[in-house]
Symmetry: C2
Subunit: 180 residues, 2 copies
């Protein structure tokens, strides 16, 4: 039996540049209450691209929260009122220089629905044309292109652990999008 | 080129029951600095279980951050010093009543490496025996068992969006673990 959780008290503790933090007291229909810690996040986009010669560009970036550099698909946060697909095209271009001509939605994911409202939209792109790279000011990236087989191995060997990247690849693979 | 980000200033803004919040100034080797908002999370475990008659138990739970109830594999946060595999067995038992006899690691994922240090360990369990359900005090759950084909459809139709659940299923599927 599912009980909706009605907010009976909400306190914003932090308003940041990227995330906000709230604590809330919630009430179930049976009158019981519970305490929740909630992070508000603008959401983002990840884009798995396949080049004309069948390679997947991945970016490797130092991630401060986990104190290491990891491989991920090109991705970024949604700008205010930005359409997810346009954000994906923009981030792919900025990080890899590729301009995507054909784009398919792979749906979206909730990375951490227990404490964050973040939604990540994922896309598959092909028909790529090469343009100029233009990373963000404070974004230092390695870019490398991998074969589909290599990315599959890196995922199954647990060398790629970023949620959006794993989901984008495995969904494409399950839908045979790499073979068309 | 990857630059490590060295912390030059760190301020803890919130210490919660589940998450903590820090803001940091980080420095790159070239002397440039950047600002980071970081959430500390204890990490968790998700466990995809296959019953003797080939069904996968999923739990549906209201998630306050996204204001809706979603289907997920049984999961929970790691208790302090708890071994991930033991946590998976415990959560599966508490939420579904099943006692797992055979457990395989499916690796781990970083749900949101851009702002959170959360790590989610995922497991595949079979050889299940039925025990007693014992959910947490403030946990209200629906439990239902789905066929492997139905879960695959729900994922590809974007009806299951929880990151750990999608990854656990698609990794099992890619490794043919449902067929053995």
């Amino acid at each position: 039996m599912i009980f909706e959780e009605k907010t009976v008290e909400s306190k914003k503790l932090f308003e940041g540049r990227i995330i906000d933090l709230r604590v809330e007291t919630v009430e179930f229909p049976d009158g019981k209450t519970a305490y929740r810690e909630l992070v508000d996040h603008p959401g983002g986009v990840g884009i798995l691209a396949l080049t004309k010669d069948g390679k997947i560009p991945l970016v490797r970036q130092f991630r401060k929260p986990i104190e290491k550099a990891i491989w991920e698909i090109p991705a970024g946060k949604l700008d205010k009122n930005e359409e997810p697909k346009m954000c994906g095209i923009r981030e792919l271009k900025e990080e890899t220089g590729y301009i995507a001509k054909e784009i398919v939605s792979l749906g979206f994911l909730y990375p951490s629905p227990g404490f964050a409202n973040e939604v990540t939209h994922i896309f598959f792109a092909k028909g790529l044309e090469k343009g100029e790279v233009s990373p963000d000011e404070d974004e230092y990236l390695d870019i490398e292109e991998f074969s589909v087989d290599d990315v599959r191995k890196m995922i199954l060997n647990n060398e790629i652990n970023d949620a959006k990247s794993v989901i984008a690849f495995l969904k494409c693979d399950a839908m045979n999008l790499f073979e068309r």
